[in-house]
């Protein structure tokens, strides 16, 4: 026993070192778990406010390019509006009731990206809108083109964290737009503008440049959101499946604004699905 205490006293520094490293390892491990991504820290108040004040300064440098983006988006919306006006006139002429139209399903809320990383395995975006601004966990983020950015995983009063496609914890059920073959979109932590689409069976016809959209089989992402284009077609090493390289539509290295999309009818849909399942039992 006495020897044991001597041993501790003599190696106190090394033992302290080992204990500290174990503490760090526990922190790392708990973080790597997908579920624990909720505790990501940059959504917490102090750190977010530091990034927000930094953003207040650096915002100006990107103004001109963001103006271009907004002008293009405005233009596209104007065109869409014209088309819709025309269709509305046609409908009126056909004496159909406008009230037959479907209710609004998706509500967009704009948010600014105040912090983002692209050079890690686990990248995150922090946005300046939280539960006070109507953002909740499980909502999705898209860019100005409507392309998928990621999923809201943590929310505080005024900030939220988005888990983007370029995080190795992220899985997105996607499909080829033309042929409807489904696969999983995963990121391999190499380039911030490329991801892999796996599990597409080998009898599917795939060409370079084919569009990839969300499949709708995930409970968060509605069907048909744009993800990217096929950049490279390869077979999986084990055979049977493709291993497609996807050029992502979103440029994560220069992302300033996102739209957070709320599915207004999600509750209703979930309720119906649950009731149906109960009936089946």
């Amino acid at each position: 026993m006495r020897n044991f205490f001597f041993f501790i006293a003599r190696n106190a520094t090394t033992i302290f070192f080992i204990l500290l490293e174990i503490l760090c390892l526990v922190l790392v491990m708990s973080f790597n778990d997908y579920q624990q991504a909720k505790y990501v820290s940059s959504a917490n108040a102090i750190i977010s406010s530091v990034y927000e004040s930094e953003n207040a300064v650096t915002d100006y440098f990107s103004l001109s390019s963001r103006n271009d983006i907004l002008a293009r988006e405005n233009n596209a919306l104007h065109n869409q509006l014209d088309i819709l006006h025309q269709q509305l006139r046609l409908l009126r002429n056909a004496s159909l009731s406008v009230n037959d139209a479907l209710p609004q399903r998706f509500l967009h809320r704009e948010a600014k990206v105040i912090k983002s990383t692209t050079n890690r395995e686990h990248n995150y975006l922090t946005i300046d809108r939280g539960s006070n601004g109507g953002v909740h966990e499980g909502m999705i983020a898209v860019d100005y083109n409507g392309a998928v950015v990621g999923l809201v995983t943590a929310v505080t009063d005024n900030f939220a964290t988005v888990l983007p496609i370029i995080n190795t914890s992220f899985r997105l059920s996607s499909k080829l737009k033309k042929t409807n073959f489904r696969g999983q979109l995963v990121w391999d932590a190499v380039f911030p503008d490329e991801a892999e689409l796996i599990d597409i069976p080998e009898h599917a016809v795939v060409n370079k440049g084919d569009s990839i959209v969300t499949s709708g089989s995930s409970s968060y992402f509605p069907e048909g959101l744009y993800v990217g284009k096929v950049k490279d077609v390869e077979m999986d090493r084990n055979g049977g499946f493709y291993d497609l390289t996807v050029q992502l539509a979103v440029d994560f290295t220069s992302i300033y604004d996102v739209y957070i999309v709320e599915d207004l009818l999600l509750k209703e849909q979930k309720q119906l699905e649950e009731e149906t399942e109960e009936h089946e039992r």
Partner: protein, 174 residues
């Protein structure tokens, strides 16, 4: 007197290095993927003969603070604590003279520049390899990761070395 000076210098260096790391270097993204981490200068400039336990506590707090801003809990802290523990062995390994003068600071001006270069190179190697092992264990031995590791290391060494040429961290002895 000298002690309170040391504490103030440590606190100032801590705040300055953390601010620079979080607001400047983490956003540099040289060529899109190089991220230097010159904040480890805090651990490097602690005086010769500082108690390793104390150094490890400082390193842990510094690493953890950077972690909080990078969303990487434990990774920077782990790499910093290891560097703090290994620092005594690095110093022993590269020692030119019989003994270091306890209480003075290891800087570019302490001995020859080549001594300081060796010191920084070895320290950055320890810190960066550990950090990358924590951060990208799945892809650690893949060329994009290795390239990123090497280039980030070179950038860190260059920034630390150049910063020492412009700003002398005074230890009051000169």
């Amino acid at each position: 007197m000298a002690n309170s000076q040391n504490v103030i210098r440590l606190a100032l260096l801590f705040v300055i290095l953390l601010t620079l790391q979080v607001l400047v270097f983490n956003n540099l993204n040289l060529f899109g993927f190089i991220n230097p981490y010159p904040y480890i200068l805090l651990i490097l400039t602690m005086p010769f003969g500082v108690a390793t336990s104390f150094l490890m506590i400082v390193a842990f707090v510094m690493g953890f603070s950077v972690d909080m801003f990078c969303n990487t809990p434990g990774m920077h802290a782990g790499a910093c604590v290891l560097l703090a523990y290994v620092r005594q062995f690095i110093l022993k390994f590269i020692s030119l003279h019989d003994d270091y003068k306890i209480g003075t600071l290891p800087t570019l001006y302490t001995y020859e520049p080549s001594w300081y270069m060796k010191y920084v190179l070895m320290a950055v190697a320890v810190h960066h390899v550990t950090l990358f092992a924590f951060e990208q264990i799945d892809t650690l031995f893949w060329w994009p990761t290795i390239l990123r590791l090497l280039l980030s290391g070179v950038a860190t060494v260059a920034i630390i070395y150049v910063s020492q040429m412009f700003i002398r961290i005074s230890d009051g002895t000169k």
